[in-house]
């Protein structure tokens, strides 16, 4: 069930250049069903910016009723968010959407988690949950440059981790797709920029692949029809899925990326 709650900020820190990790206390943590769900945040009690900001949940702790988000300070909304500190209250709507299906891969099997830039965070909770149930987790994380890299060590704790940077300043130079072509897996989960998702979907049509999509949103709950995408089996027709309430995670081949 979706709740609107004033959540107390527990901590906020910059963990890489312009990348912030924000932990809040929220009763609705107990409503979270799967890694990859997101929340919709009102960054200021003001009319500018007017709309909420969708941000993915990177990990949660039901025992302490807390969850963590990792976001990039980029536009007006995230710049305001980055200024907030512990003890302040934040108006959050959540949990929203459908996350990654962890049951698609079993103990002893291999899951490949592929993240690009700010698409990396929702994979962290997924990695934790898969590792905890005995799945062999392999991570491929792509970033622009060394100063943007985060959570390499955290992912390493759960399993093999490859990092790429576009400029080669850290890890392997290139794109995540250069690395995953040499890896074998039973199930692939990915979140990141659209060209990356497309490349993965096209490259592994014979595999079990789950993609988390991003789209500009209005309401975040499925009412405004801002974030729709077409069903893959009906590319010229009227059938659709809403990224916010039907997704953001879809099985590859379900919608047109």
């Amino acid at each position: 069930m979706i709740k609107k709650e004033l959540c107390k900020i527990i901590s906020q820190e910059e963990i890489a250049n312009d990348i912030f990790q924000l932990t809040v206390e929220a009763n609705f943590v107990h409503e979270i069903k799967a890694p990859g769900q997101f929340v919709h945040i009102r960054v200021a009690n003001a009319r500018d910016p007017l709309l909420r900001r969708p941000i993915s949940i990177s990990s949660f702790d039901k025992r302490n009723s807390q969850f963590t988000m990792i976001y990039r300070k980029e536009g007006q909304g995230t710049r305001l968010l980055a200024e907030l500190g512990p003890g302040m209250l934040l108006d959050i709507l959540g949990p929203l959407g459908n996350g990654f299906p962890v049951d698609e891969v079993g103990a002893g099997e291999t899951a490949l988690l592929v993240g690009g830039g700010i698409g990396v965070p929702p994979l962290y909770e997924l990695s934790n949950q898969l590792a905890a149930k005995g799945v062999k987790v392999v991570h491929v994380l792509g970033f622009q440059t060394e100063s943007a890299v985060f959570f390499e060590e955290e992912f390493l704790r759960n399993g093999e981790t490859y990092v790429t940077t576009v400029d080669g300043s850290h890890g392997r130079k290139g794109f995540v797709t250069d690395i995953i072509k040499d890896l074998s897996f039973d199930c692939l989960y990915t979140c990141g920029p659209t060209p990356m998702l497309k490349a993965i979907e096209n490259g592994y049509s014979d595999k079990k692949v789950f993609l988390s999509l991003e789209e500009r949103m209005g309401c975040g709950i499925g009412a405004c029809f801002a974030c729709v995408c077409k069903n893959a089996d009906d590319p010229t027709g009227v059938s659709y899925k809403k990224v916010c309430s039907d997704g953001p995670v879809f099985r590859a081949g379900e919608v047109l990326v």
Binding site: R52, A223, V228
Partner: protein, 313 residues
């Protein structure tokens, strides 16, 4: 005794607050937050004869105190709205205002004829003002004579009162209002969104895939108030006012301007509870302002002293 009930053609509203068309889908999403029977009415998403996918994405862009949208009237089509959405809504004790859209006259007539026969549809909102569809729409919403003829034809086939939704994207909105009144409109709803644009700083291109979109939210409130102020003095049919409403104070301001009820649009996206919150807060605000009933606020901006004295008596 209710201090908020309002009677309008076809509509016995327990309060004058309703979500605006296009900002509330068919109510399902908001029903997880509160009992929809609390609402005065619901203006459901525009319905066209055939299902529509709408425009490519991005479909929304933000701007100071507002947002632009170019959804493009996405809806499941007349048949599905009648077979799925309206029966689902009938579990709630709330009158439905069905927004009727189309590209040509025959579309509007077909939707109006069928949808007005559904028992929980108490009124139609004739959408002649959507800025985001390529064909039709514009002429119906900007040429008085065309709007009048369409209103007349829809009135002929509708089983329930017809409210016409006016576009602010005209030179003379009073002229449009008078034309649709002459065409037999039972009421007006106003204003629809203002056409606007945002550009991407990196690419230099429009953010919206449709290039232009409809501006809504608090940014357009003064425009809506001014237009309602002008139109309410020029016509004898009631106005359901909309345009940036997000609080009980805004509602009173719209009544002062001349509205008889109001619709809340964009604010639903910011706060899903905004409609019941406003309904809860209105009686207290009426107390503070010294009114027994919200109808006493209507038209205060242009009423003369004698009329006002009569109201307060």
């Amino acid at each position: 005794m209710s201090r908020l009930n309002i009677a309008l053609p076809g509509l016995n509203l327990k309060n004058p607050i309703m979500p605006a068309s296009g900002c509330f889908g068919f109510g399902r999403e908001y029903s997880q937050f509160y009992d929809l029977s609390q609402l005065g009415a619901i203006m459901i998403k525009a319905t066209t004869v055939e299902p529509r996918f709408g425009n490519p994405t991005p479909r929304v862009a933000e701007t100071s105190a507002g947002m632009l949208n170019a959804i493009g009237l996405q809806n499941p089509g007349l048949e599905k709205v009648i077979s799925n959405e309206l029966p689902w809504l009938s579990q709630y004790d709330v009158p439905i205002i069905a927004n009727v859209a189309g590209s040509v006259e025959e579309d509007y007539i077909e939707v109006a004829r069928s949808i007005s026969k559904v028992s929980n549809v108490h009124a139609l909102e004739l959408n002649i003002s959507c800025p985001n569809v390529k064909t039709g729409g514009i002429a119906f919403g900007t040429i008085p004579e065309v709007a009048k003829q369409l209103t007349r034809k829809v009135k002929e086939v509708s089983d329930v009162p017809v409210y016409v939704k006016l576009s602010p994207n005209v030179t003379n909105i009073v002229e449009m209002a008078k034309a649709v009144e002459a065409g037999g409109a039972d009421g007006l709803t106003m204003i629809n969104t203002l056409v606007g644009m945002r550009l991407d700083l990196k690419t230099g291109k429009p953010i919206l895939a449709n290039r232009t979109g409809g501006l809504s939210g608090p940014a357009i409130k003064p425009v809506a108030l001014r237009m309602i102020y002008e139109v309410s003095q020029a016509v004898n049919i009631p106005i359901i006012g909309m345009g940036g409403i997000e609080s009980a104070e805004d509602v009173i301001e719209f009544f002062y301007a001349g509205a008889s009820a109001v619709a809340v649009g964009t604010a639903n996206f910011v706060d899903p509870f905004v409609c019941p919150t406003i309904i809860d807060e209105l009686p207290l605000l009426l107390d503070q302002l010294g009114y027994e009933h919200i109808s006493e606020c209507r038209g205060r901006s242009w009423q003369n002293h004698e009329q006002l004295a009569h109201h307060r008596a």
